[in-house]
Amino acid sequence: MGYKRLDEKDLMYIKQVIGDDERILYGENINEEYSHDELSGTQSYPDVVVKAANAEEISKIMSYAYEHTIPVTPRGAGTGLVGSSVAMEHGIMMDTSLMNQILELDEENLTVTVEPGVLLMELSAFVEDHDFFYPPDPGEKSATIGGNISTNAGGMRAVKYGVTRDYVRGLEVVLPNGKIVEFGGKIVKNSSGYAMKDLMVGSEGTLGIITKAVLKLLPLPKKAISLLIPFENLNSAIQTVPEIIKSKAIPTAIEFMQREVIEDAEEYLGKKFPDHQADAYLLLKFDGNSAEEIEADYDKVAKLCLSQGALDVLISDTEERDESIWKARGAFLEAIKGSTTYMDEVDVVVPRNKISEMVEYMHNLHSEVDIRIKSFGHAGDGNLHAYILKDDLTEEQWQERMTLAMEKIYRKANELNGQVSGEHGIGYAKKPYLNESLEEETMNIMRGIKAAFDPKNILNPHKVCQL
């Protein structure tokens, strides 16, 4: 595709639209961090970074870019893991992190309206101050809400509350041609045509740039209690998960963790985990309106776990206790990163009743491929994060074994009727695996949708479904 390379004239136009040189980074002034995201290993500099302040600015620049066929890459906090926010064709990077206002809390409709640059941590603190609850809870709290919507982020409360898509009511979007449109709204029900709002959620900045979002809120649960459940080994831990789900108890989270990852986190945080008796743990969280109500809820699950071979059921009912567990849980990614030289990740999702099969497969894979793999994840929703570690391997060995391990994992997930990504997205890094796992016809429809939105393919090229 022949894109026009950004020149002085284009820059002049951008400067005139923005009218504030501080919000434009050009050439050498572009920080290194704008050339990559958190993990994907993809690196490419944009020609210019524009820190947009409102939808009108984005609209003007988009229509100019559309007219002149200049590629545009939207970006939030840059915490992605698959390269969605890396400017593969250079051009303009549209940074929306300055659009960080919480516009309205609508207590009658139970919605909050935000700009895309609001950070997840800011949003949850704000709504919780008002006794409301925004349930999606991905580990990376400094991600922007725009980025969360773009990847349909999931997180640790998905078992009970679902994912970001379930909380997006309406979106304001700048289309690739610069037109500003609204999808959905404050309405609770909507059967009016195609689900455009849902199409935008998870589109990773390939269909339009989100400039405003109306999010659904719930009343804030008053109390949460976690259960840390030690098991003899990983198998007996994981095999209990489907039993918990079958029991119809609804924890907000069911996570699994293994001793070696816990040890990495202890080392990373310099703080001891509160229990060391077991090789594998399940971590469950329950929420409700009082300690008594929650205790009644978890009692059944505690008994079930013990009957399934749990060594004990440990109760975390205070802030300090929660912190000793969840802080370790939150540090897993960084801790694993710190334990090796380089790593790549998989984010597969399988039906919940296949979770134990998938975990065991990954657990045994290291002997087959001779590469270190560490995993943890949201056992309760079937979403697993596995990290393939480079350690002391040569670049050649690494490429070869990592690719092999990835292929095997994705093939297994496919076999179990799973999908390539649960919550991190496809971006640039995972395209081949998506292409392989979906039917040709599905991929074609996706490309057709992309073409309908963006016939000149200027918005975030090379991502998701574009080869």
Binding site: L227, L228, K271, K272, F273, P274, D275, A291, A302, L306, D312, V313, L314, I315, S316, D317, T318, E319, E320, R321, S324
Partner: protein, 262 residues
């Protein structure tokens, strides 16, 4: 080895505010929990019991609902628990509190080792432990950051001082106040909680004590009096200095000196 741990029920959150106009304390919710610092004392007791054998008892003073923290201690592995509760103990300061606890401890029996947390999160005084040891006439060591050796007669500990560590051997019976992070406290166990559900809690009131003189307890036994409570001044102060480097470095030096860091 007979170990006693002193525990206390404290408000779940420290977020108390004083209404600047009326002077009334505003509490956010009435939820309570075990004083977090006591968890370290309890964990220390459990480790010593695992190593040396024996039993762990807990004692607390408070309203009837403070029995909850004894149940929690049971779920963490304590064997026996005593709750000292009497309206006549109300309004006790450090002296009266430590005296009441010491009276209760005497009723419970003989202990080789008494463990306390560093301090509580509500009173913040760190004084009740040492005062108990005086009433019982046993030695005490505070700021214990590590136990280096323990047997049937003595315990050797590291006491954390501002610049040094004092390594001290104490003969039983004695009282130790342990620091935060001496061990990572274990979580309460559901299994243990269920097993101990029927274990009783010993209740003690003023009428059970050897000394039944009411003037030694509660408000009457308290030399200190709270005259008033008020909100602290908050540090909302912000200054921006935009000057020559030489002036900046001088102002910085003066500020750091004023704050007593040099």
């Amino acid at each position: 080895m007979n170990i006693l741990v002193c525990i206390k029920q404290v408000p779940e959150s420290n977020k108390v505010e004083v209404d600047p106009k009326t002077g009334v304390l505003k509490r956010n919710g009435a939820a309570s929990k075990m004083n977090p610092y006591d968890l370290y004392a309890l964990e220390t007791a459990m480790r010593l019991k695992e190593e040396l054998g024996g039993e762990v008892s807990v004692i607390t003073m408070g309203p009837p609902q403070a029995a909850q923290v004894i149940r929690e201690a049971y779920a963490m592995g304590a064997d026996h628990g005593t709750l000292i509760s009497d309206r006549r103990f109300g309004g006790a300061d450090v002296l009266a509190t430590s005296y009441t606890l010491a009276q209760g401890i005497k009723k419970m029996g003989d202990f080789d080792l008494i463990l306390c947390g560093k301090q509580t999160t509500d009173g913040d005084t760190a004084q009740v432990g040492p005062e108990i040891s005086e009433w019982l006439g046993i030695p005490s060591v505070s700021n214990v950051r590590k136990i280096t050796e323990a047997d049937g007669q003595n315990i050797t500990v590291e006491m954390d001082m501002p610049d040094d560590i004092e390594i001290t051997r104490i003969a039983y019976p004695c009282l130790l106040a342990v620091d935060k992070d001496i061990f990572q406290p274990r979580l309460p166990s559901y299994v243990r909680k269920t097993e101990k559900a029927d274990t009783e809690i010993t209740m003690l009131s003023l009428d059970d004590m050897d000394d039944r003189d009411e003037t030694h307890y509660g408000l009457n036994g308290s030399p200190t009096q709270v005259q008033k409570i008020f909100p602290p001044e908050t540090n909302h102060h912000r200054e921006l200095w935009n000057e020559e480097s030489s002036i900046l470095s001088e102002k910085l030096f003066q500020k750091v000196k004023e704050l007593k860091f040099v």
